[in-house]
Amino acid sequence: MRKPPEPMQIIKQRRDAALTQLADSIPYIKHLGVTFERRGDELTAQLSYRENLIGNPMLPALHGGAVGAFLEIAAQIELAWALHWPAMEAGATGLCAMPKTIDFTIDYLRAGLPRDAYARARVNRSGRRYASVHVEAWQDNKTRVFAQATGHFLMPKVAAEVAVK
C-alpha cells in the first residue's frame, strides 16, 4: 500500500524552518532588514524601508550599496534554497552551507524610492562548482524593475555532494 501523503502543515513547517535557518543564520541580513516570503519553492526577498538605507538625502534615494547588498542577499539565499531543496524535502535538517560570491554586477535602472523594495532571483545555471544567478528588484510596480544584477557563485562542498547523490 502506498504511504499516505504528509500532512500539509508538516511540510509547510519544515520548509519555513529551513528558510528561517538559512536567512537568520546571517547577521548582516538582519542588520540590513531583509526578510523572505515563501510560496512553495518561490521566494520573494523584501528590503523594509528605514532612513538608514538612504544614499542621497536630497532626492531622497536608496543607497546603491544597500540596493546592491539586498540583491546579493536575494541571489545568494535563492541559490542556497534551490541547492538544499532536494535534501530538505527528503527530511534533512541543519542545511546551511552557503554559496560564495565570485563576482556580482549590478545595473541601477532607476533611483530607489524611500519605501520597501522586493526582489526575486532566478538560478540560470547551477553546476557542481559554479552557479550563475540573476536577480531583479522592484518597488511599487513589479514591471518597473529599479535594479537588477547577475552574479556568479562558488558552490559549497557539502551541497555539491548532496546535489550529486
Binding site: I29, N52, P57, H63, E72, I73, K100, T105
Partner: protein, 144 residues
C-alpha cells in the same frame, strides 16, 4: 580657499551626510582630485558567514560603491551629485575577520555624461579582498 580644496571639502560633507554610510560606520581617510579612500571597522553585525566570521559581501559592495561615488564627486570635471549606473565587484578572497577594510577608488575618466571608476578593497593583509569597476552619472553638465 583653493578650488581643489573647496571641492574636497564639499565632497567630504556630501559623503558624511549619507545615512547608509553612517549606518555602516564608514570613515573618510582621504579624498580629493578624483580619488577617495574610505574604510570600515569590523563589526559582528555585518557578518555574512557565521562559521568563519567573515563580513558579508554586501558590506564590501556598499563601501566600494561609496568610495567610487566619492571619487566621482571629488573629480575636477564633476559638478554636483552623482548616481551609480552600474557596478561590478569581483571578490578575490574573504576579508580576514577583525580587520579594518579600506577601499581606494580612482575616477580615471569623466566625459560629459559618464564618469568611469575603478576601486580596490583591502584588509590589513596582502592582496586585494575585492576589486570593482563602475560607471556613474555626471550631473549638471547639460547647462555647463
Amino acid at each position: 580657499m583653493e578650488h581643489k580644496d573647496r571641492k574636497a571639502m564639499i565632497a567630504k560633507q556630501f559623503i558624511s551626510a549619507i545615512p547608509h554610510s553612517r549606518d555602516l560606520g564608514m570613515r573618510i581617510d582621504a579624498l580629493g582630485d578624483g580619488e577617495a579612500t574610505l574604510s570600515i571597522a569590523y563589526d559582528e553585525r555585518f557578518i555574512g558567514d557565521p562559521e568563519t566570521g567573515v563580513l558579508h559581501g554586501g558590506v564590501v559592495t556598499a563601501l566600494l560603491d561609496t568610495a567610487a561615488g566619492a571619487a566621482v564627486v571629488s573629480h575636477a570635471d564633476s559638478h554636483g551629485g552623482t548616481a551609480t549606473i552600474d557596478l561590478r565587484i569581483d571578490y578575490m578572497r574573504p576579508a580576514t575577520p577583525h580587520q579594518r577594510i579600506t577601499a581606494h577608488a580612482e575616477c580615471y575618466r569623466v566625459t560629459r555624461s559618464v564618469a568611469f571608476v575603478r576601486a580596490t578593497a583591502h584588509d590589513e593583509g596582502d592582496g586585494p579582498v575585492a576589486t570593482a569597476a563602475a560607471a556613474f552619472t555626471v550631473e549638471g553638465s547639460e547647462d555647463a
